[in-house]
């Protein structure tokens, strides 16, 4: 089995090519900015008199959810950029010829790359989300969002995108594949908004379009579940609806759909890549 060799190779490529370094530096800059924002926001909040009970906790939780929402977005973009050209792009460049001629199964190449990208995203999400939770906790003294399920769901969303991009990359070159994957990603985002509006207007058609889009690409649904986990207190739950989450979080079935989705995209990627000519 050579999957681990390919996975390790994929990781090393990202490190060596400074992809990770660039992402880390940008995220660090973003976290500093975020910290400054939270600090001022929290100071203003404390100067406000009155308000309903649990206001402080709710707002702090909302600030965290908003911050993680942008991390989730960065992670998604990173996942797509890393993997859109991973198969066809390399076949077109000719860099995969000598490797694929070795005693390596095509499926090992696909899985190796998947594992490599997933590990990278896991480290990215794990470190940046932890730092963010820590920043909020230190500044406000409120420990919110300290659970594994939020970052895990964010990682799952990134894995779904990696699977989708690898499936496309088994046949399509990087540019058309990137266009398709981002279009699907946007569809899921917009589908979420349509679902919310449909919910408010009590329009079954709009609601169903939204649900369909989350089944098609469950990335948005993963985030909705994550944000529901992160937002503590009934008040925060309502606040964090809108741009950062759904008013009614997806059911647990969505996890099953996500798992199926991943199995399907990876299965397709392997089959299509096994059959392609170099």
């Amino acid at each position: 089995m050579s999957t681990h060799l390919i996975a390790f190779f994929t990781l090393r490529e990202a490190l060596r090519r400074r992809v990770v370094l660039a992402a880390a530096l940008l995220t660090l800059g973003y976290l500093v900015l975020y910290g400054v924002g939270v600090w001022f926001g929290y100071r203003d909040l404390q100067e406000t008199q009155g308000g309903p009970p649990g206001l402080t906790e709710g707002v702090v939780s909302l600030m965290l959810v908003g911050g993680l929402w942008s991390l989730n977005f960065i992670a998604s973009v990173l996942a797509v950029f890393l993997s859109v050209g991973a198969l066809s792009g390399e076949v077109d460049q000719g860099t995969l010829h000598a490797i694929a001629a070795r005693p390596v199964r095509r499926s090992e190449i696909v899985f190796g790359k998947f594992v490599g990208f997933t590990l990278m995203l896991a480290v990215f999400i794990g470190v940046s989300a932890s730092l963010m939770i820590l920043i909020v906790a230190v500044i406000t003294g409120e420990v919110v969002g300290a659970s594994w399920s939020g970052p895990f769901l964010m990682l799952l969303a990134a894995m779904l995108l990696i699977g989708l991009a690898l499936a496309g990359s088994s046949r399509l070159s990087a540019l058309p594949n990137g266009v398709i994957v981002f279009t699907l990603y946007a569809t899921a985002l917009i589908g979420g908004v349509i679902e919310q509006i449909g919910d408010v207007l009590e329009s079954a058609v709009m609601f169903n379009i939204g649900v369909f889009s989350s089944v098609l690409v469950p990335t948005r649904a993963m985030w909705d579940m994550a944000s529901a986990q992160l937002a503590t207190g009934g008040f925060a739950g309502e606040l964090s609806a809108g741009p950062f989450g759904a008013s009614n979080p997806p059911s647990g079935w969505m996890l099953l759909i996500a798992a199926l989705h991943l199995a399907l995209t990876l299965g397709f990627a392997v089959r299509a890549f096994e059959r392609r000519d170099f």
Partner: protein, 303 residues
Amino acid sequence: MSQPAAIHLSGVSKRYGRTLAVDDVSLSVAHGEVFGFLGPNGAGKSTIVKMVLGLTYPTAGEIEVLGQPVGSLAARAEVGYLPETFRFHDWLTASELLHFHARLARVSADVRSRRVRELLELVGLKDRANDRISTFSKGMMQRVGLAQALVGEPRLVILDEPTSALDPIGRRDVRDRIRELGECGVTVFLNSHLLSEVEQVCDRVAIIDHGSIVAEGKLDELLNAQEIELRAGEGAEAAARETLGEGGVRHINGRLRVRVANDDETARLIRRMIEAGVPVYDVRQVGDSLEDLFVRVAERGDV
């Protein structure tokens, strides 16, 4: 009986959309043979190589490599391949690339470092072992590629135009290396359109054009006595035309050049001249050059 061929193709075709890149090719390369595969651009050489490696799938036909069905991991473990484009992950250093391929080729850990060092020395990149491939010249990349092809101590080496970017010394080195491999019993499949290279190292060649093999055989047989050159007295030309027909008889530098099909025909011609009382001073076979053969084949589509 004898062991199975190192490479065996039977009735292999490959179609890309409307292009028939390879058309019903059957071919056997014996173990330990240095086999040259020649043909003009677009003839289908690289396509055949990629099918032998399991990188590309034939539309029709069967391929066996080292006695195994094409693409099997067991066969691949014993094959070394230098792709035509010799593009590698250029963020690696030369040494890292070879280590990676040694692992993929299942070279055991205790010999890997030594093997990598030896190969880098062999291809003249010892000083650049720890430089990134992105800083290499084209020829240096091809050298790394060659080392990569040899890193697994393969029983079959498939080289797709291994010297296209090399300087004359590099070319000579590769020729020497191929001969050495042949002497060690390694089978070499060499794609090339450098005729002199093929002429110097190959036991047997095939010429492919428009996807079909148009000539195949031992080099000296293919090139053998296509023409003879005669220094003879009065009446020689008439005798030649009488025996062999009008075509294929001409004068070069005051000598008579006659195209013959085989040795029998040569003997018949000489007998005829002697019977006719034509003095024959000197007869020699003029080996066709591979270039003549290649051009003739490529232009006419037959030998």
